[in-house]
Amino acid sequence: MRIPCPHCGARDVQEFTYLGDAKPRRPEGLDATEAAMLEYVYVRDNPRGPNDELWYHAAGCRAWLMVRRHTLTHVIESAVPTKSAKAGVAA
């Protein structure tokens, strides 16, 4: 696979590390509940189809990216910096 890093251009997947689903949002602050945190840490949609994922350009620009990738065809629709995508950010 090649991931189109918005900063560096298309790069081999070997340069990246993977974290997983970008949808769950970390419950922030002292009021966050254990149940919400449990969902965030452990429970996944794991779709067979388009998936928003967190990738880290470890051997490149060190940016965390949100990549929309199909888990059956591996076709990548988009890749954007998480900073602009607001992945995983507390709502």
Binding site: H7, C8, G9, R11, E15, G60, C61, R62, P81
Partner: protein
């Protein structure tokens, strides 16, 4: 901070005991040439989000525009290489004045010295691209990687940043920064890869 190194405190750069000057691999006219730049000074600059101060002050101090994408601005004495969003590698080709320069920048950016953190080499020669293609997962073709382009990537499991400088007499030339601790492994791969073309290694001064 002025630094008056005495003989008891000698610098020993990353290539010491790793690289030997001379020809390696095939004999004859070398297809690959390696130069080890001396006195290369480096520092990471990370701008404050949203601030444009760094752009202004670098222009003022070293006369270079801060590159906004994966490229490097180079003058005879200095360079500013994009090295990630909001990050640059500042380089100077001489030691004198570098710490003064970085301290002037520290209001507008987080500055971290990296001059000792990297082993640098310059690769040129007719077969330069071919050697690098044995490790580079990026396209170094002239159109894809013109003079002034830079990339952070890895060669043979070793993280590098490289850029293309002005062409030499026999084709493109690249400067490569390698993590210091991995210089020996990098060289082991490079020397093996360059051997078939014949490779001349020089260290100025």
């Amino acid at each position: 901070m002025a630094e008056q190194a005495t003989s008891s405190w000698c610098r020993r750069d990353a290539w010491a005991a790793i690289i030997q000057v001379g020809q390696i691999g095939a004999a004859g006219e070398p297809g690959v040439k390696v130069q080890l730049p001396a006195n290369l000074q480096l520092a990471t600059l990370i701008a404050t989000t949203g601030s444009t101060g760094l752009e202004r002050i670098t222009k003022q101090l070293v006369g270079l525009d801060l590159p906004r994408s994966a490229s490097i601005a180079l003058s005879a004495t200095h360079g500013l290489a994009w090295s990630g969003p909001g990050q640059w590698m500042l380089l100077a080709r001489q030691r004198a004045g570098f710490s003064e320069l970085t301290s002037l920048l520290s209001d507008e950016a987080a500055v971290s010295d990296q001059g000792d953190a990297r082993a640098a080499l310059c690769v040129s020669g007719r077969r330069a691209r071919e050697v690098l293609a044995k490790g580079a997962m990026i396209d170094l073709h002239g159109k894809a990687f013109p003079v002034g382009a830079t990339a952070l990537t890895s060669f043979a499991h070793v993280g590098v940043q490289l850029w293309r400088i002005k062409d030499g007499p026999d084709g493109p030339a690249f400067e490569i920064l390698v993590s210091r601790s991995m210089a020996a492994s990098f060289w082991s791969w490079f020397a093996a890869s360059a051997a078939e073309f014949g490779c001349n290694v020089a260290r100025p001064g």
